[in-house]
Amino acid sequence: MQLFLQQVLAGLANGAIYAGMALALVMIFLAIDHLNFAQGEMATFSTFIAWQLLAWGCPYWITFVLVVAISFVGGIAIERVLFKPLHNADILANLVAFIALFSILNSADGYIWDYTIKTFPTPFGSKPLFGSVLIDAHEAGMLVVTAVLLGLLYLFFSGTRLGLAMRAAAHNPVSARLVGIRVGWMTALGWGIAAAIGAVSGMLIAPVVFLDPNMMFGVLLYGFAGAVLGGMTSPGGAVLGGFAVGVIENMAGTFVPYVGRDLKLTIALLVIVAVLMVRPAGIFGRTTVSRV
């Protein structure tokens, strides 16, 4: 029982990382209707900026706020420069643009900050929490920040005029434009928010996985799996999906005999595919109905 609890908690701690990434993916999916393949690289770039500021002696929380602001502006800039000209193009043309952005940011990280693995400080400390071995302070901090972020986003999207306008613009751009919503700017805003969320999750993950240009790639894969599992149209579902992926992966590694340790990722993916067989739009996803 002790082992079981420990594995669940360790899975949840990993899951918090995936949940943050899944949330960022779903946010941008809701805002622009595309899956942002370069999301992880954008987050890594933000984290490198944070590392640089810290190295110059800037205090942690000031750095935190600065980097979130920089990322927000950077996300908007990327949308305005790269993706606005493509907004009428095929979905696949957009996909190539995402892959290109991925390649550019990844290579730029390596060029500016080189490929050596860097440590990144945590504001929460890394002492075991409540004297137990189950969870340490940084993992707990990560869970709390993810929960707060989700709460704020929920309030923003359900409680403010701007949030409503953004949802309308993503859901039905033509009608949204007709009622006076500036759809283009809503999309840009979606990019900015997603980049800011990415920056937060990057800074929270870096102390655990260490900082290098490829830091986020594995996380992005799990985050994508979590987002799809929860349903691409549901931010809350994405977070739950991210946690689920973390727990399933850890459980498979510990409790499935013989193949578990080597194939835990494969088993996790099989579970997800099996769930999708039953719920083709994810657990919490909305099935889109189209008129013929």
Binding site: A97, A100, L221, P280, S290
Partner: protein, 371 residues
């Protein structure tokens, strides 16, 4: 005696047929010329360049496999690198463990991939868009792990991989070296499979496959068995990519789990989109791009190779948003309009030819968006 009016009517009827025959003839000449050039190339260049050209053909073939599924059938895959890897491993295991001659390993590689493709195609029937992408993505992510799995090490060689012997030049062709022979062998297989794909897409079955892409419900209402065709297309697509993988095992002479990571699948996707969805020659352009542009990028700047590659990709997609094939159609349309100005008598015909093509293009873009 014919009145002038009747004459123009006769011309109007005869002209499109004649023009079409001429265009077909031009197409045959272009094809023959391209094959002739392809046959001469390995004797003009040597060694490494011949190897690279072989790789271009292999990539082109793999992208063709992806194109059958994504471009013609509208099913999205980010995991074709998995089929590429399975094909490569079938060839490597048969040659090195069971001493099967290399040319006999290609059909089994294709068949194994066809079966695996069908197995993936069945769950794919319930899913679409990003959710379908996740299933194929799972295949791409899981394959390297499966290949490294210690229970299968006796076959796959684990992380070490398998070294594959280069095929010997057959005795009746003593004058060429092994690289040139492999190039010609690959060229023959590639031509055969492109011919097959061209016949498939031009047939009744091909039209059914494309009808499902354009509008699945309407296609089903017309009596097309959509699940059957979708699953079969998945299988055939995997078969094509698997054979390409088998050829790549022969060309690279080495297979290892990490050669078949997710990035292989992403490369195929980039090649497919930049070459042009639903275009057969576009696949080879995609192969050229995926093989040569990273090298060009690296020669521009070693440290910023990824930046250069990304910028080139962006430039290509901004200039040719529907790929090289779409760009070629666009230029062809411009030329036709230019000719129409020169020959005002035939004004009606080129327009009538050009417009439906544009409309199809437009619809394709739309249906891709709706998926």
């Amino acid at each position: 005696m014919t009145t002038p009016q009747q004459e123009t009517v006769a011309l109007g009827v005869a002209a499109p047929a004649a023009r079409q025959a001429m265009r077909l003839q031009t197409r045959h000449w272009v094809l023959a010329g391209a094959i002739a050039v392809a046959l001469v190339l390995p004797f003009v260049f040597q060694g490494f360049v011949v190897f690279q050209l072989t790789e271009v053909l292999i990539y082109g073939l793999a992208i063709l496999g992806l194109n059958l599924m994504t471009g013609f059938n509208g099913q999205f895959s980010v995991g074709h690198g998995a089929f590429f890897g399975v094909g490569a491993y079938v060839t490597a295991i048969m040659m090195q463990r069971w001493n099967v001659p290399y040319y006999w390993t290609l059909p089994p590689a294709g068949i194994v991939c066809f079966v695996v493709g069908i197995l993936f195609g069945l769950p794919a029937l319930r899913l679409r868009g990003l959710y379908l992408a996740l299933v194929t993505f799972a295949a791409a992510v899981a394959l390297p792990q499966l290949l490294k799995f210690h229970g299968l090490e006796g076959w796959t060689g684990g992380v070490q991989g398998i070294v594959v012997n280069q095929p010997d030049v057959p005795a009746f062709l003593p004058i060429i070296d092994a690289d040139q022979w492999l190039y010609l062998f690959t060229l023959a297989i590639t031509l055969l499979m492109f011919w097959g794909a061209s016949n498939l897409t031009g047939s009744r079955t091909g039209r059914a496959i494309m009808a499902i892409r354009d509008h699945e419900i309407a296609a089903a209402a017309m009596g097309i068995n959509a699940p059957l065709y979708k699953t079969l297309t998945f299988g055939v697509s995997a078969l094509y990519t698997g054979v390409a993988g088998a050829l790549s095992a022969l060309a690279v002479q080495f297979v290892a789990p990490d050669s078949f990571s997710l990035f292989v699948s992403i490369n195929f996707l980039v090649g497919l989109i930049l070459g042009g969805m639903g275009s057969l020659p576009g696949c080879l352009f995609g192969g050229l791009f995926v093989l040569y542009v990273p090298n060009i990028a690296e020669s521009l700047s070693r440290g910023l190779a990824g930046v250069a590659y990304g910028v080139i990709m962006l430039l290509v997609i901004f200039v040719m948003p529907s790929g090289a094939a779409g760009f070629a159609r666009y230029v062809g349309g411009l030329l036709a309009r230019h000719r129409e100005v020169e020959l005002p008598a035939h004004r009606a015909t080129p327009n009538a030819v050009a417009r439906p093509a544009q409309r199809v293009e437009h619809q394709r873009a739309e249906s891709a968006e709706n998926d």
